[in-house]
Amino acid sequence: MIGRISRTTAALVVFVLSVFPVYWMVLTAFKPTKDIQSATPTFLPVPITFDHFGTAIAAKGFFSFWRNSLLVAGGAVLLALLVALLAAFAIARLQWKGRRAFVLMVFVAQMTPWEALLIPIYVIARDTGMLDTLWILTLVYFMMTLPFTIVTLRGFLAAIPADLEEAALVDGCTREQAFRKIVFPLLAPGLLATSLFGFITAWNEFAFANVLIIKDQDDRTLPVWLSSFNNTFGTDWGATMAASTLFMLPVLLIFIVLQGRVTTGIVGGAVKG
């Protein structure tokens, strides 16, 4: 009995500690300014106001930052899917010399400390005239998500029995037809999960966006804009929290869509390879 009560208490403490910051963010976003500034904070969402969301959306450049983030993350994910699908097929389905070495390379690439490459990539972007363009960000995010995409797609591909494909080949399909008609439909959920996960990585990235887009402020992405909220909103915490909430929303939706698959995907990807 005592054990049960203490377990329940511990569970509630863990729950409150993990949820509170996010709850506080959303609560502040919906709180009237006078309640935000009152000496005793309120912990329940009454009364509600949408003013702060209005302020955030009306902020200069809000929609272009939103569009930039979508473009960069979407472009990077599409590129990564395309390139990774080819490589994953080669690893999961074909036997060739150098396969093990290639897999090892992908694993090493996955652990790249990108933080250490800020300087050379800044210099390269400057030399090639790609500084202050969304192209360079798209390329960097593509490379950041590529190894993970290969590893995960390989896992999904390996889960589809090769017998199915062989049967199709025996029935006279070309290898390309067999892939398109048999493997691809089975792979689609895996493709979706993988791409959404890559999308989150690109959507959240800050360090490179902060360094590579300097002159043209309209080309910034949402994370950089959010980090400079002090310049945008001053001390308007309501608007700042509303902007954070809007920024988090797509990520949260993706997590809900991928519920369950996220954990197994990452752990499986990291361990099984």
């Binding site: 377990r7 569970a11 863990v14 500690l17 993990s18 949820v19 910051p21 996010v22 506080w24 500034q37 904070p41 395309l82 390139v83 080819l86 490589a87 080669a90 389905r93 074909l94 036997q95 290639f102 694993f107 090493v108 790249t112 400390p113 933080e115 490459l117 800020l118 300087i119 050379p120 210099v123 390269i124 400057r126 030399d127 593509f142 490379m143 494909e165 070309t174 390309e176 959240n204 360090a207 902060n210 994370p223 959010l226 980090s227 909220f229 700042t240 929290m241 954070s244 920024f247 988090m248 949260l252 993706i254 997590f255 996220v262 954990t263 197994t264 990452i266 990291a270 361990v271 390879g273």
Partner: protein, 314 residues
């Protein structure tokens, strides 16, 4: 699988007269990956090494006529006491974070195993929500939580009777900022570690626990003689990953404190960036980041060893 691979492929190898030709298809398929990795990953890394061996400041960046100076940048960095202070701080920061992450995650995972269906669902939902929170959103919220005048943390501390926290400015004090960054990183890292450990723990056969309990073993003894030894590889793997992630943590620190106040929260990646960005000494910054890579390679080698061990055990 072998059968499929050895079948002659019609559309890519147009009926070669010789039967035993090496297949081209796999190499065509991995070519895009190899090319992009070479240009976007290997080349920047090599470029970083080159810059670290040159005199490379703002003039060289503009004119592009950097000269090689050998190991001068490394000598300069390694003989700078400030660099060693940063290294010590990075190791300290990593140790505190990783120990907290591993201990708390293990406790949360052990708790999850013992919870009923509904409470487990609730706690896991909370963890996933934390996991889903973007780093930038989390840093922004933590700045708001610890805000001096209206922050809820100060209000709670005052309400609990700690009058000295009224209007306390956390971000003006080095140790307080350091503490907030540790809290933030631990908070963000627990979901991955706890959920992974939980997923591993439920694979341990239940009979082992029952047998141990029959023999009168307490909770600590069960953990130290069954759970931990069975999952040693998994614990090693996650510890290595956390070490790597904490050492290279940049965004949280940069956004919250830019390494300050003073140098109180300057770790290696922040230091490399400061040197390059504010002093415009790209050469020294590159040298510092190469030294950081070296440190990470050590952690990485340990990680791959664990990965190999796990693969063999699985």
């Amino acid at each position: 699988m072998t059968l499929l691979a050895e079948r002659p492929v019609q559309e890519t190898a147009p009926a070669p007269p010789k039967r035993r030709k090496r297949p081209v298809l796999p190499y065509l398929l991995i070519a895009p990956t190899l090319l992009t990795t070479a240009y976007l990953l290997v080349y920047p890394l090599v470029r970083n090494v080159i810059i670290s061996l040159q005199e490379f400041g703002l003039p060289q960046l503009v004119r592009g006529d950097a000269k090689f100076v050998g190991l001068a940048n490394y000598v300069k960095v390694l003989s700078d006491p400030e660099f060693w202070a940063v290294v010590r701080r990075t190791l300290w920061f990593t140790a505190i974070n990783v120990v907290l992450i591993m201990v708390l995650s293990t406790l949360v995972a052990l708790l999850l195993v013992r919870l009923g269906k509904w409470l487990r669902f609730l706690v896991m939902g909370g963890l996933v929500l934390t996991w889903a929170t973007p780093i930038i959103a989390a840093t922004t919220v933590f700045q708001w939580l610890f805000q001096s005048r209206l922050g809820v943390v100060n209000w709670a501390l005052v309400a609990l009777g700690f009058e000295e926290y009224r209007d306390y400015t956390w971000f003006a004090d080095g140790e307080a900022t350091f503490g907030i960054l540790v809290t933030l990183i631990v908070w963000q890292s627990i979901p991955f570690a706890a959920l992974s450990l939980y997923a591993a723990m439920i694979t341990v056969p239940q009979e082992l626990y029952e047998a141990a309990r029959m023999d009168g073993a307490g909770a600590w003894r069960v953990f130290s003689t069954i759970t931990f030894p069975m999952l040693r590889a998994m614990f090693g793997l996650i510890t290595c990953l956390e070490v790597i992630w904490v050492v290279k943590a940049f965004v949280q620190i940069w956004v919250i404190s830019q390494g300050g106040p003073g140098q109180a929260t300057t770790t290696l990646p922040v230091y490399a960036f400061q040197v390059a960005q504010s002093l415009q000494r790209y050469d020294l910054g590159a040298a510092v980041s190469m030294l950081m890579v070296l440190l990470l390679v050590l952690a990485l080698l340990a990680y791959f060893r664990q990965l190999y061990r796990q693969e063999r055990e699985a």
